[in-house]
Symmetry: C2
């Protein structure tokens, strides 16, 4: 019996077991120098890095969760474009020797995320390295028929008076991260939803597609926290607006409130800082807000949707009548929160 991956071919054979090499959008699958994909006239493309000890820990993530999240964070970008995910290409680095059982579980997690969204693995590259790391490039096609605009959702431009909305939980994944860092998997006993939000975020592909059907919607996903991502929405495409928002406790998950109070933070401020929410943040013209609200009634109960405020002419962010600073996660900055 082999306990470790013995060769590149061995690894490729495992991948072949877990990932079908055919798909309606695939003309030529894995095995050649390039894959050949069937494209619509426009495609949305995005790349994400998912790196051990930067984005995840092998100490408290299961291998399955690592594989799942490596794809989920990337799929979330396609969700925020209102696109239908089609395929991914992956650069996968593992330490050597790498346990076979761990490799199998990672691939199972990746395959699960791919299967949930009917995504084909078109190819990639394998290498040994010091740390486990994933670099995933995803592409997707528009869900809106050709000839109609917009074909993909974009971040902007927004306009003063636009209604700001969020779909998903704010701060929940950050609470999970902090709890897992402090207590490991034991944290899941008292904070199961927060831990799950960090370990296995669910990309809101279906929501993105619904939003793409609403005229004038602007959308992005919240990967670095509302504090950092809301200014990006307000400044996308050359605008420089502000926002007046409110985050009442009714808009927050009970575990966010419980954790904030326990750790001495204001729940709204904690949720505002967020990080890795993978919620969708958007703006829409006031006159479509009612239609949007009705459309979102169809979402399942565990996917909250709420209007949180308005785009203002005046730059800066007012949250719960208080001016909040523009800080969030930055890999290269000294002021990073992790």
């Amino acid at each position: 019996m082999n306990d470790h991956i013995t060769s590149e071919d061995d690894f490729l054979a495992l991948i072949a077991e877990k990932f079908p090499n055919n798909h309606p959008s695939l003309i030529l699958g894995r095995g050649d120098d390039c894959a050949e994909i069937a494209c619509s006239s426009q495609m949305a493309v995005s790349t994400d890095i998912f790196l051990e000890d930067v984005h995840f820990r092998r100490t408290y993530f299961s291998p399955f969760e690592i594989g799942y999240k490596a794809l989920a964070v990337n799929i979330s970008d396609i969700a925020s474009a209102g696109a239908r995910p089609l395929g991914i290409s992956i650069g996968l680095v593992t330490p050597t020797p790498f346990p076979r059982e761990e490799a199998v579980s990672i691939l199972d997690g990746m395959a699960q995320a791919a299967k949930e969204h009917d995504i084909v693995l078109t190819g990639g590259d394998l290498s040994r390295g010091d740390k486990l790391s994933f670099c995933v490039t995803i592409y997707g096609s528009p869900t809106i028929p050709e000839g109609k605009k917009p074909r993909f959702l974009r971040r902007g431009p927004v306009a003063p008076g636009d209604k700001l909305f969020v779909c998903g939980h704010l701060g929940l994944a950050r609470a999970g991260l902090m709890l897992l860092e402090e207590h490991g998997r034991n944290a899941a006993r008292d904070f199961p939803v927060a831990c799950a939000a960090h370990l296995m975020p669910v990309p809101l592909v279906h929501v993105g597609m619904l939003l793409a059907s609403i005229p004038g919607c602007r959308v992005m996903d919240i990967s670095d926290g509302l504090a950092r991502d809301l200014p990006r929405l307000l400044k996308a495409y050359g605008t420089d607006y502000g926002a007046n928002i409110s985050l009442p406790e009714t808009a927050l998950h009970p575990e966010v409130i419980a954790y904030s109070q326990k750790s001495g933070h204001s729940p709204a401020h904690f949720a505002f800082l967020g990080g890795e929410d993978y919620a969708l943040l958007g703006a829409c013209p006031a006159d479509v807000a009612e239609c949007l609200d009705m459309t979102m009634q169809s979402l399942p109960e565990n996917v909250p949707f709420f209007f949180m405020g308005t785009v203002t002419e005046q730059p800066g962010i007012i949250c719960n009548a208080e001016r909040f600073a523009d800080v969030g996660f930055d890999h290269f900055s000294q002021r990073s929160k992790t």
Copy 2:
């Protein structure tokens, strides 16, 4: 003055300086969750990892060369598909703090490779990490008009009697690698071409496009050495053929011969093991060989093209009348050569 990259935005601003954010194939450039690209009905896609201390050393690569090669090895896959490279999406990991001057030179090298092939940077992701690493996904469009086949070059299937050819140098980059590992940059004094072949390989995009115009050509790039890649060509698409090839010294670069003799290897065997040649290896039906030969006369002198033998019904590889073993580079295997 800032000596180091101070933030993600700082890094993004540098990237914006070096890479234009517009291109005929780009509908929406960098800055949103996804880029939007204009596609032909079929696209070729490939991903490569380029990792410090696995694929390159910061001790003897200049930052410019690192950036250049990170893209070149990826562009080579598009060359082997006979495609026109259009865009890339990059996952870039750097240690922190990261010297600004080094970042600038790396980006200059990447921008140079992109410019040479009219490739647009559509987006990517940045992260800190222990080692400098690149994961590049490239896509390209067919150069053959729609409706004609084949639209992209593939590895196979080959057939017995097909003529095997190589465009580029065998073993030259491997000699460069070994010399640089042993002597650092001093190696370039006596072996300038071998060192350059390892440090800044030139992807043969123009050759791939020419090959795509020859009916029945099968092509792949030699990234792991002929010893490992020729069997892949012979076994692609379910075949299991062999090859009878000859690698006379006239087909090898003088620096390969000089280095082999110096280090006690047979030049043919050394070239056969190769590694990182980024030459194009192909097969064509015998009746198009003459036409192919004529077409290749147009290549510049420093890009050698030669027929090296024939696909045989009998599996296994005979080189210079001697049976050569199927070994080459494998990241996960104990029998890897580095």
